[in-house]
Symmetry: C2
Subunit: 328 residues, 2 copies
């Protein structure tokens, strides 16, 4: 692999000059500039990132820690974040915490070792010691969609209350009274906020306040199926079910069909936070809050770069829209 020294030799200039041409801001003569560029092209020169990072004390790499890349919300977010980062000259390292705190911590260690310039974090749980020490070391951090107690960083997140409001309006318009709610872990701000907004708004939307209709899973299909089963076990018979995120709604539909059979399940309307490809094919079609992962990813990266460059960055709430599939 060619080094900058090789380039300089071939161009007949000193190493410093080559460096200035290739990455420096300082002026260089048109002549040496042309010769260095030519030499670099001929040698197929690509600067050694680690060496550059060592010298400059920055890597132009951002770390993105999400809970599960297999969740379409996060894969869309990751995709958008990566695109935005690349556009701005940064590279993203993606890590999956698997909704597991220990693994999240391990990745934070790896990120620290790689000397990332900043961290995009969708936290799994409370503030870990490693995260605390990362913050203490001055690492720029932005939060994606989930808040964490004790961490004062800009947050880019869905407007959960607004999204739940759209669902409540839709439920009311459909004349539902007995509505089951399957939420996520209340330890996550997303889970807590969606539940809180639902509880706060149900009465004014003509929805039963019977708490037998409320249960929570783990924001994954398995936990949600178990939650809807528990609700049905209490003897209540909802006419509609609200799943608080994409995987939850998947589990809800599975659970309803297993428990009640396909026929009876098809008489229950399902509505979801997070809009998935297949909702249009369900029986009946599933209406949903469109949760704009791409915007969150894009704004998160922009905010993080702002932080890295020393600017003030404010949190942002991203509005949702609603996809009504009731009468299509």
């Amino acid at each position: 692999m060619a080094t900058i020294k090789d380039v300089a030799e071939r161009a007949g200039v000193a190493l410093g000059t080559a460096s200035r041409v290739l990455s420096g801001s300082t002026q260089t003569s048109p002549d040496s500039r042309a010769r260095v560029l030519a030499a670099a092209a001929e040698l197929n020169y690509i600067a050694n990132g680690p060496a550059r990072a060592l010298r400059r004390a920055r890597t132009d790499v951002l770390g993105l820690l999400v809970s599960d890349i297999r969740n379409p919300f996060f894969s869309e977010l990751a995709h958008a974040a990566e695109t935005e980062a690349m556009r701005r000259g940064y590279t993203v390292i993606l890590a999956n915490a698997n909704e597991d705190e220990a693994q999240a911590d391990e990745y934070l260690r790896i990120f620290a070792g790689q000397r990332i310039d900043g961290l995009l974090l969708s936290p799994q749980g409370p503030l870990s010691p490693r995260l605390t020490s990362l913050l203490a070391s001055g690492m720029p951090v932005v939060l994606l969609n989930r808040r964490v107690a004790g961490l004062d960083a800009p947050l880019f997140s869905t407007d959960n209350a607004q999204g739940v409001g759209l669902v409540l309006d839709w439920l009311q318009a459909g004349g539902h009274r007995d509505v089951a709610f399957v939420g996520g872990p209340t330890a996550m701000s997303t889970g807590a906020e969606r539940l809180a907004a639902y509880l706060a708004g149900r009465e004014s939307h003509g929805i039963s306040t019977d708490d037998a209709l409320i249960d929570s899973g783990d924001f994954l299909a398995g936990g949600a199926a178990a939650a809807i089963a528990r609700i049905l076990d209490r003897g209540v018979r909802p006419t509609a079910v609200f799943g608080a995120n994409g995987p939850t709604t998947l589990g809800v539909v599975r659970g309803l069909r297993e428990r009640l059979g396909v026929e009876a399940a098809s008489r229950i309307e399902v509505v979801s936070f997070d809009n998935l490809d297949w909702f249009e094919f369900a029986t009946p079609p599933i209406s949903a809050v469109r949760n704009d992962a791409a915007t969150i990813g894009r704004l998160g990266v922009a905010g993080l770069i702002g932080l890295i460059e020393g600017r003030d960055v404010a949190s942002e709430r991203i509005e949702t829209t609603f996809v009504d599939r009731r009468n299509v």
Copy 2:
């Protein structure tokens, strides 16, 4: 951030001793070992990756270039690859080519700059100059699922012919004669192989050889919907449709419903290469080849590490299984 020098000072040993304890293979006295470890823990020492990489001329980082992380096949693959890599002491940098050659090339450049130790590649198209020069520089590479002409690297891929065989058996068992096939780009080996296997086997499985029933999209929903529309425009009326990958099947179902209406579409059986969460909810349920992305990712990483460590690595075909949802 503490350096190894700080650790050595605090432990009262020389820099070299600290290095040996922290990452060296050579023996050190239990005493210095304990003191260095204690000092490192107290200082919250995390080795500077770039400096280490510079000196060792390796980064312990693998690059993974996929075509679209939003495709569940790849997000599952990426997840498995990342987990396996971490288990073996490597970090993965994930890049999305967006099914775009120029972007793929740009990422190869970034990978080269980061001095990754090896590359997991799911190629987009033909051999680009940059890929050629990467290979020429001795970069270890394994191919995931897609072959590329002129590149002789170990390939870890689905057994496409075997998977298509399972579909053909299932179609025959269902008594289908008029079957539409919606494939992907034949420039991709995946697309070409699935089509070839289908064409080769259809006659012996009692399926019409009318080529009006065959068309191809881009392995994305949009292209597939257009392809099934073209097929219907030719006046043929299939009783079953075979979608050659997950997004394709999504597009097929959309296209059928748009074109024929929900009622008529529900009388057409759909079968898919790649098994998606929602197939059980479709009307009628969609049977599918389970394409084991996780195994491909895991074996790919294992193979790549083998290459990096100088071992011989053989290509592997991963068998598929079939999820029959016809009579559930």
